[in-house]
């Protein structure tokens, strides 16, 4: 693909990504917000593909859009929260704190980008982002964190069973 097609595709993915990310924040209905998040994950996967990180893109889709968001939706739907229960009115003070925090973050990111200046992206090898490459890194350089994560997940699973089951 040529550079121009890549740019077009970038915008095709980026604009809806920003829009759905904004939707997550703006939607009053929690289910709508969760759905915006699902759609944001989808467009983000597109960006990952453009960066030739295919594996990451689809891991992201299967884990977040497929599993975690389903869990979110489950909880949100079954709680069937009303506005009163969500306490939207009480949040006005917190809202301003959030705005200030977000603005600070924006300033930080923009200034960091401005300082680094325009740079060409580093060219990557054909092997970049493939299952083979990711696997090699995961099982050599990052073996310890990888195993630690699996222990963490195991703990979470056992914890979930203990919490869910009344008597074992």
């Amino acid at each position: 693909m040529g550079a121009s097609a890549e740019t077009v595709l970038f915008w095709i993915f980026a604009v809806p990504l920003i829009a759905s990310a904004a939707g997550v924040v703006a939607a009053r209905n929690p289910v709508h917000a969760a759905m915006s998040l699902v759609s944001a994950f989808f467009w983000l996967a597109g960006i990952y593909v453009l960066l030739t990180a295919h594996l990451l893109a689809f891991v992201q889709v299967i884990v977040y859009a497929g599993a975690i968001m389903v869990l979110f939706l489950f909880v949100v739907m079954l709680l069937s929260l009303t506005d009163a229960e969500l306490g939207l009115e009480k949040l006005s003070a917190l809202k301003w704190v959030g705005v200030v925090g977000a603005a600070g973050m924006l300033v930080l990111v923009v200034s960091a980008l401005a300082q680094s200046g325009p740079r060409a992206m580093r060219a990557v090898g054909a092997d970049f982002g493939t299952v083979r490459a990711v696997g090699r890194i995961l099982f050599t350089q990052y073996l310890l964190p990888f195993e630690a994560t699996s222990v963490l997940l195991l703990v979470a699973i056992v914890g979930a069973v203990v919490v869910a089951k009344e008597k074992i």
């Binding site: 097609a5 295919h54 891991v59 859009a65 497929g66 389903v70 489950f74 739907m77």
Partner: protein, 459 residues
Amino acid sequence: MAQFSFAFPKPGTKKLLVGATLGAALAIPALLAGLLVFLVPMVNKPLLDAFIREKLGHVPATWVGTQWVYAAALFLAGIAMFTFAAITGGIFSWYERRVAARIQSRIGPNRVGVAGFLQWIADAVKLLFKEDLVPGEADAMLFRAAPYFVVAGMTLVLVALPAGQAIVVADLDVGIFYILAVTSFIVVGILLSGWSSNSKWSLFGAIRATAQVVSYEVPAGLAILVPVLMAGTLSTQGLIRAQGGWPWEWFFFRNPAAAVAFFILFISQLAEGNRTPFDLAEAESELVAGYFSEYSGFRFALYFLVEWANLWIIGAVATTLFLGGWQIPGVSAQTWASVRGAGSFPAFGWWALQFVSLGIFAVKTLFLVNVVIWIRWTLPRIRIDQMMNLCWKYLVPAGFAAMLFTLVWQMVATWAPIVEKITALVVFAATVWVTWRFLQQTRKNVSLIAHERVDLSNW
């Protein structure tokens, strides 16, 4: 010997009707095959470049139109795949009803066209003209959006699903993983449709469906790992290239664990496609229609389109992973290369061979589709706790065992390839024997009731 009575078409049928039906029955699949064979391989960049260079007479690197040709090829391939899904889904709907009717000693749809072949078109038109009803208390936006998630989940799978030697829109190096990932959109769609309908039946169905699909993704993933370990790649085309044309070169026969994994995968696919005996989500006798109880018209049609297009996907994924995909017996990779010719744009023989490979793939897939339909009209539905037990207590451990066995097996097979060859022949012979016994028993059962009479007169 059994007596067969067969009359097709029935005497007295109008010639025009016969002509129209036969025309449609031949032209539609031919058109689909043509679309697949000639459009889909063109999405491949080297081929497209060769096309621009040799057929259009431009230099791809400098010509202004190159990008437009790329875009047009992508667009057309997208249209081709979606058309393919829609039309096979439609034809399957007619076919399933005919087969169901045969199983139930009925006639089935036989009014629109000869043998009712045009029924699916009539049904689609009818559904399109129906009112698109949104329940008053429903969350209108999500209610309208939900079917599209389901359709997207189905259509995106087609991108990485091969149908022939070069017939795949994108041969991703994470192909089979991609297929697993995008099917998760179906879950989101189902959950949404159930919740947004604001009906207790829909919610019930949606929760059942979600629990089921999310659970069965685990054994499906484990079963998929077995051929992936054997081939050493996640790419769908790579998986097929690692197999061969003859049955004993298929993964299914080469490794006893793969045979087990095939059944695990097939059961999981039935569950993920909400087919009997796992149709708990749309259990008619319990939940009315499950998560799409409240849908009507076009959106209802979309759910059914997905259900039947999923039949092809179920068959195609299993064929790709275990049954040798499009491999033609006796045609090796060298044959493909020599037929392609020296030029960068392939010769005519190559295209012809593509047709053959598509045919082989379709035959295997349609066989599995038949099995799915046959199961649907034979078995009762299992209960949700039994469904969960089957998944977590039987399929998941069996999947793990198959995966571990395959790891050892691959080491043995690399050390002594003869072991794999002998196993393949033994398993193949065993399968042939089991099939033969099964057919004998079926014949015995039929003759107990029908007394040597096989009536095919209403086909």
